[in-house]
């Protein structure tokens, strides 16, 4: 059995979105990526609160860019997936795969 902390659903989705965005992006791009792919309109506050939590766990790191006029003179905070984040994704994916194997469609009959 695999060891390690399982990701929460939003943590999982956020890490996957960052991986899809070449491993690095800022909050707004992550939010839009999730909305476009899942149809879920997640608030920017939820995105940042989750990214902060992932950063505290060492799964992502962040760096601050230069302020830009289209952002009202505010700088971007770029988030990047770290090796620990990739490992956490693998563990979560394997766990989910193990739990859903041979169950395809089973819950539809319940």
């Amino acid at each position: 059995m695999k060891q390690g902390e399982l990701l929460g659903s939003l943590e999982h989705i956020l890490l996957l979105a960052l991986v899809r965005l070449d491993g690095s992006a800022h909050g707004m791009i992550v939010r839009r990526e999730i909305e476009e792919r899942t149809g879920r309109n997640i608030s920017i506050g939820a995105i940042y609160a989750t990214l902060e939590r992932l950063e505290a766990k060492g799964y992502v790191s962040s760096s601050t860019g230069d302020p830009t006029p289209e952002r009202g003179g505010r700088a971007k905070r770029m988030f990047r997936v770290e090796a620990a984040g990739n490992r956490a994704l693998q563990i979560s994916e394997q766990t989910l795969h193990s739990m859903t194997a041979d169950l395809k469609g089973s819950w539809e009959t319940i």
């Binding site: 800022h26 506050g45 939820a46 940042y48 609160a49 505290a56 009202g72 003179g73 700088a75």
Partner: protein, 193 residues
Amino acid sequence: MSRYSPPAFACRLFQTVLPVSYRGALLGDLIEEYNLHAEATSPSAARRWFWGQACRSIPFIIGSSLRNGDWLISVSTAVGVYAVMGTLKLAADFMIAKLFAPEPTAFVVLAPIVFLAFTSIGGCAAARIRFGTAVFLALFVMITVAVQIIAKACTIPVPWWYEFGFLTLGPLSVLLTPAAFGVLKPNSNESAT
């Protein structure tokens, strides 16, 4: 400069609860996406979207702040502001009661004015000292008023909506006054909108 201006009041209200660590980045993201929405739809639809994002984000930000342990410092600061403002308010109430003792109607009229003045000043002071403190101060005000209503501290007969006004407008003035006047702790990483 941004092509469209996001709702200034929503920005200020949002700033009162955002932690300094990602306040500038989050607001920048919101403004950037607001401009995209305004171009794709209309400025009014984009404003609605902006307000929706701000309101839906607040519970997550407060929850995150509680988990991080930032709340302990914010609560301590709020207790300090509450103690100072509470003492001054008690002194003001005492003076009003002395001056208008023979006329309870005057006290009933003056009490909410003094109360809202103190909650507004307290809210501004809390927001100026530390982000998130105003939220806890609003909570303390709400609890205090609720306890006073339950304990029937007001001996003068007043209608239910009078006390309900204290219960709702007090905490709201703590949160909204600093947002309305833009009274916030300055952040060196961020410039104005």
